[in-house]
């Protein structure tokens, strides 16, 4: 079933907008804003605010309606469906079915210096009240921190014979993260070791579908908890181990 935005009345299609046009404010500025939104396909445009921000720019706040709808059932994607387990169950799974510690190496790579995200997943104290991977007795987790070159990350993962590599990418401006993430994949492939690792990426602008596209095994977005990641890693590593 098609649905449309719900403002005041179901299906009214109301959307709120704000934007800046690089033009001086004038008596007709509001009409420019209105006709612009009409050109974009909206109707019943109400310009709520239209104000000179500066002699060269005009700021707009508007409400308008669309007749376009979307059917949520037709939106299909590569969503990660992890069966979330608890701390004890994860450790038990690794112990019983893998039979050794699960090795994890993580880092914020290349120019990215944001560690709070990867720390939240890996460090002892964890995040949102649940422990980080370092606390799992059945994991051997190393958080390398920030600005780690891809080559160094790989070297460490190989040295430690890790099962999984966790990468954090927070800065996404000018798609710098795509560049870094691709660089890592290419390195792994060039070295012929891509298949040796469960490769995971996370960050506020990451999702699973995007991660898959880039060649990663999974992607985690904002508000990820260590438990989700640990559940995924344990299940995936055990699965691969048993398949092999």
């Amino acid at each position: 079933m098609l649905i449309r935005p719900y403002g005041d009345t179901r299906d009214d299609g109301v959307i709120q907008f704000s934007f800046t046009l690089p033009m001086p404010y004038s008596v007709k500025a509001a009409d420019v804003g209105k006709q612009f939104l009409e050109k974009l396909g909206f109707h019943t445009v109400g310009i709520a605010e239209c104000r000179a921000m500066d002699p060269e720019y005009t700021f707009f706040v508007a409400y308008a309606r669309t007749d376009v709808g979307i059917d949520p059932d037709e939106v299909k994607g590569d969503y990660l469906e992890v069966e979330e387990m608890d701390f004890a169950a994860i450790n038990a799974l690794i112990k019983e079915r893998l039979g050794r510690k699960l090795g994890v190496v993580g880092a914020a790579i290349e120019s990215d210096a944001h560690t709070v995200g990867i720390d939240a997943i890996m460090n002892m104290k964890g995040f949102a009240g649940n422990y980080g991977l370092e606390r799992y007795p059945e994991m051997d987790a190393l958080n390398m921190g920030s600005q780690i070159p891809c080559a160094q990350l790989l070297r460490t993962a190989l040295e430690r014979d890790a099962d999984a590599i966790l990468v954090s990418q927070i800065v996404t401006q000018k798609n710098i993260h795509v560049q870094h993430l691709t660089q890592l994949i290419e390195l792994l492939e060039a070295e012929g070791v891509r298949e040796r690792f469960v490769l995971v990426v996370g960050g506020p602008r990451i999702n699973n579908a995007f991660a898959k596209e880039l060649g990663y095994d999974a992607g985690f977005g904002p508000r990820t908890t260590p438990l989700e990641v640990a559940s995924f890693l344990a299940q995936e590593v055990v699965r691969r181990h048993e398949e092999a």
Binding site: Y6, G7, D8, T9, R10, V14, Q16, S18, G46, I47, A48, E49, C50, R51, F59, V61, Y63, A128, P204, R205, I206, N207, G221, P222, R223
Partner: protein, 540 residues
Amino acid sequence: MSDALQLNGDLVDRARAAADAIADDIQRHIDEHTTDTTERASLRLLGITGVNEIDVPLVNVVVEHARSLLPSGILRPFVDLMDRTGRGAQEVAEGVAAGELTLAPVPPERCEGVEARAEALAREGVARIDAVRARRNELVATVGEPPKPYVYVIVATGNIYEDAAQAKAAARAGADVIAVIRTTAQSLLDYVPYGETTEGFGGTYATQENFRLMRAALDEVGEELGHYVRLCNYASGLCMPEIATMGALERLDMMLNDSMYGIIFRNINMQRTFVDQYLSRLINARAGIVINTGEDNYLTTADAFEAGHTVVSSDFINEAFALRANLEPWQIGLGHAFEIDPAKPDQVVYQIADAQLIRQLFPGYPLKYMPPTKYMPGDIFQGHIIDGMFNFTGILTGQEIMLLGMLTEALHTPLLQDRYVSIRNAKYVFEACRHLADEISYKPSGLIERRADEQLRRAVEQLEHVRSIGLFKALQNGEFADVKRDPDGGRGFEGVIKVAPDYFNPFFAALREGRMSGPPRGTERGETTAGDSAVAGGGD
């Protein structure tokens, strides 16, 4: 913080004395008059409902039919006709509407019996109200209470089903009180529309069926949330006591009920309004409903910085009328507002002074604090911040009923998401600043204390002046909200009737008799939605 400002106790006493005298004066007028809607409300209290084939409510038909009998009250002849026909109130009303039955003066020999039966019926009517109130008490006790201040938002789609859906969403987002705004001109109708409605603009018709539908929706969501969700509607207008009756029967919890709003803002005749508000408030009082007064409106037509004291004096007047109508302090939600121009330097400092003054003048009263409206900009981001400072002032000064400002106030009645973001705004500010009031004190004789003192002084001056000229005259002069009204002008004047010496209406006594007292009590439940940590959102 309840005595954070040093106020001059003498001035407070003088204000109350003047307001009392003003109200006593008007009360004499009230006691000497009845109105169409007072009589119609009395019939509704007997249980009469429904409309005729052209959608005129039966109570209007009956009162119209008996116009000549009204000076003595509709109830004596009506109950007499019930007696004579052996029919119930509803059947008699239908008979009258059908032209089958005719109301007639009651001969003296039947009076005593008829009056006794009418008194019994009045007690039955009041008992129905009591049962509803008892049900509220029970629900609050079992379902639980949300923490104060109450977060109050409006719905106004015109369609009661849409309103109900939006009200539920608002409650889930953290609203504690839902007010259904009436459609634009309803308050000027001299009857109450009937049945469920799905059209209206700027609001939804206030009908008994709509009340019932919304009540059911809120009970459902209250159960789900673990705290009682309150319902509010508007009594003020041309049918105050009738709507109050409907509210009492359908378990509304709050009603906008001001002794002067209709006069000033709807140009309803003042003689009419004072009479109407009296019965409507007696009913609200009985029903355990909290009233909200409308002083905030003054500051939309008059300047809030200059005329802030008129809010204070009007609050004293509304208090005096409310106490005369048997309302208990916990039921008297006096109104005031955050309407000083945000471009005024130290706006928030002055708003704190005004709000804290009113808080201290009316301890124990559930003050209704209105958000900025007149100066809200089209820039919703800026508006949202002004609302944030309103929320701050509210929590700092201990207001109990916070009408939330909407970032789109200058644009449209609230969208679903406008309420959501406003509630998130309020919940954050309330939690983040909850105990700030306990931590600070105001500098003696500082800007805040001086402003509060000046407001109080000016209010006393105004009240004593109004006492000397009388409230009718003051309204004529435009002394509230800069709006002038003629005592014989405005709508509904034709419905004001001087009562005869034998005027009879047992409800006035029945409503006062053996009433319950005190607010409903429940344990504080419902956690705050601010609890969900706001860590970096997003993800695409």
